[in-house]
Amino acid sequence: MEYKTEEKEAFGRGKVKVLGATFEEGKPEDVKMGKWREKMTNRKEMLKYIETGERYWYSKDWYGSEKRKKPA
């Protein structure tokens, strides 16, 4: 991929060059690309993901902002 740069204003430094967009142009052709749940192929992996990724409800020891007030 060819990286493009863009010129932007930076506070106190005037104009600077920064890395531009790195996405590939066009429409996605591989419909499977976004199907992230299919990466988990067995129940053990699914339960592990639920415990970490969906920890707000399914982790036994981590409840985000509510941890301090209502320990698990």
């Binding site: 976004g34 129940r43 990724g53 409800w57 985000g64 902002s65």
Partner: protein
């Protein structure tokens, strides 16, 4: 006849209303003009028809008529009317959920050919929510237990709904304190009907509490169950490329429009329409293929999961037939105009009803039976194909259609933000705290002939994203913003403020996220809760910089949705009209006092840009309360300071 340019921002409406006029066909906009002037008593919520002594009307200008025959005041009459609207909306969502639960259970038991549990992971989360032991049980065994518990939630009489525990802890406590935690989905709806009968509950604040209880039973009950079971049965949505507006109809193919709200039959029509037998039949009739498109929320369901194009929203259902290119309009439940068979009479289109709950004089009825759903789907597709040779030359398919990315379930947003190993709302929270994202808005709901079609949604959402507010959408509101090109990643650079655009471009998402059908508003509740639980933006949804809106609402479902947003702590602004304006006391209670009581409140503003500014003002108020309205000096915590914080 109605002027297409005046009634809609969508060019397809202008073109096809002209065609309908030439064809001698009446539209909903024509009937809207015939209905003017509207009954002002009814419009303001001051007409009571709950007993045979009426109708009773209250004079909003202080004249003699200040009480109904029974003595009911403006507050009582307007509150009874308002919560009966909640009951109607909650019943519609919940009966949808019950229907899904029945099919889900039949599929789990192997009694519904063609259905299977496609998303085991979603099933497992439901099992954990419902307290079903997972162990080494098969998918089917777990699904039977989950399905039975889900079905029982509707008729439950005591205790509280299972999903209440998913709400922020502080919100649960508030609901318990107010006595509005729903016991069962149906019970709260029935109690509304009882309390609003003549001579029962006459205290408008007490009536509204029961409305709150039923609305929570919808958002955190019936609707949430419907969404989760549909995800388990058909798959949790991923980002998917789709196309929207009437230009998706094809001149040389059999066009089948699926309209309504449930994905139960439409999922199988998607499968059947791709079978060789059906494609061969279509070819034999002179068509180049079968073009399946959606409309309204059934359209959103199959768009979210398969990228099936959406032909249009609620107000485009008649003009879709007027293209002359639709072989069949297949309908299930909710938001289907009774006029469709009479519009179809002027063309070759067959209107096919499928639900025993929703029949239409003049339509062909092919009943959906979950035990024999594949055959129902085949019969429907064959009926459409066999109708292709009857298409006349009087066809006008508008050119307009645009790309969109749909499929933003909460699970997928969480994954996109955090990644496989640590899916998280943290990047969203951080960017709200640092101000790149000002806040979150849920803009949802219907279309109404009482506003310019599409304008309310599009103008409001443009104003919000311009001011760095990320927008979550469902229903016809999502369809309208997609038609305006707001649901592609490129929209971030074009319409969003620089902070929001930066975040969207980094993650690779549009500034306006399509989260599904109107029953999927439950996804927004879950997303908001995840943000709270992640930390840093308060302990309850009411503390978050968040607001909701339905600028073109029209259905009772919208009132129920609006009220469960309010009951969840969200400031929610409606456009078009508002059904309690005749009672100053009730309206003040809804628009001001409720915030003190339940954290959320209603608002009304017909101008979509002004309404967006009200939402932004509220978001800024919440940012100030959280102390994230200005840059603060960064403090590095040592261990003693951390311990002190933990002890709070």
């Amino acid at each position: 006849m109605a002027d297409g340019k005046l009634v809609s921002i969508d060019k397809t409406v202008e073109v096809l209303l002209d065609k309908m006029e030439k064809d001698g066909v009446e539209s909903c906009w024509d009937r809207h003009l015939q209905q003017e002037p509207r009954c002002q008593y009814g419009d303001l919520g001051l007409c009571c028809r709950h007993c045979g002594q009426g109708p009773c009307q209250i004079d909003p200008f202080g004249g003699e008529q200040q009480k109904g025959v029974c003595g009911a005041t403006a507050e009582t009459i307007a509150a009874r009317h308002f919560i009966r609207m909640i009951a109607g909306g909650a019943a519609a969502h919940s009966d949808h959920g019950r229907g899904v639960a029945e099919v889900f259970l039949a599929a789990a038991k192997g009694e519904a050919k063609g259905y299977e549990i496609k998303d085991e992971q979603k099933l497992l989360t439901m099992a954990m929510d419902f307290g079903v032991e997972i162990g080494d049980k098969s998918i089917e065994e777990i699904a039977v237990e989950v399905g039975e518990i889900a079905l029982a939630q509707f008729g439950q009489q005591e205790g509280e709904l299972k999903y209440i525990k998913k709400a922020p802890l502080k919100r649960q406590e508030l609901w318990h304190k107010l006595g509005v935690t729903p016991r069962g989905v149906d019970r709260e709806i029935v109690e509304i009907m009882h309390r609003t009968h003549i001579g029962v509950d006459n205290d408008y604040k007490n009536l509204l509490l029961q409305g709150t209880r039923a609305a929570i039973g919808d958002g955190w009950g019936g609707s949430m169950i419907a969404t989760d079971l549909q995800d388990a049965l058909f798959g949790t949505p991923y980002p998917v490329l789709g196309r929207v507006n009437l230009g998706v109809l094809k001149e040389d193919e059999v066009n089948i429009i699926i309209h309504g709200h449930e994905p139960l039959l439409s999922e199988l029509i998607v499968v059947v329409s791709q079978e060789k037998e059906m494609l061969d039949l279509a070819t034999s009739k002179g068509a180049q293929g079968i073009n399946l498109v959606g409309m309204c929320c059934t359209g959103n369901e199959i768009l979210m999961r398969h990228g099936i194009p959406v032909a249009g929203d609620f107000l485009q259902q008649e003009i879709a037939i007027a293209t002359g290119a639709a072989e069949a309009v297949v309908v299930d439940i909710q938001c289907i105009m009774p006029s469709l068979p009479s519009v179809a009479d002027c063309y070759h289109t067959k209107v096919i009803s499928t639900s025993p709950k929703a029949k239409f004089p003049g339509a062909t009825h092919i009943e959906f039976d979950e035990h024999n759903a594949l055959n129902s789907a085949k019969e429907i597709v064959k009926t459409a194909i066999n109708n292709f040779p009857n298409r006349s030359r009087n066809v006008n398919i508008p050119k307009e259609s645009v790309d969109l990315i749909a499929g933003f379930s909460y699970e997928t947003i969480n994954y996109l933000l955090g990644g496989m190993f640590r899916a998280s709302c943290r990047p969203l929270n951080d960017n709200i705290i640092n101000g790149r994202i000002r806040g979150i808005a849920g803009v949802v709901g219907c279309n109404s002939v009482r506003t310019r079609h599409g304008e309310g949604h599009v103008e409001m959402v443009k104003e919000l994203i311009k001011n760095d507010v990320i927008v979550l959408q469902t229903g016809c509101s999502a369809i309208d913003c997609a038609k305006a090109g707001l649901m592609v990643p490129e929209a971030a650079g074009k319409y969003a403020g620089s902070g929001l655009a930066e975040v969207c471009e980094t993650v690779g998402i549009p500034p306006v996220l399509h989260m599904g059908s109107c029953v999927d508003n439950a996804r927004i509740l879950i997303a908001a809760t995840a943000v709270i639980k992640e930390g840093g933006l308060g302990d309850d949804i009411s503390e978050m910089p968040v607001a909701g809106a339905a600028p073109e609402w029209m259905s009772e479902k919208a009132i129920s949705i609006g009220h469960y947003f309010v009951a969840s702590g969200v400031y929610t602004v409606f456009g078009a009209n508002f059904p309690t304006l005749g009672s100053k006391k009730l309206t003040k209670h809804l628009f001001e006092e409720l915030e003190e009581q339940i954290g959320g409140m209603w608002g009304f503003e017909p101008d979509p840009v002004k309404a967006a500014q009200l939402m932004i003002k509220h978001i800024d108020k919440k940012r100030k309360a959280l102390g994230i309205d200005k840059t603060r000096e960064r403090v590095l915590y040592d261990m003693a300071m951390r311990r002190e914080l933990e002890a709070v």
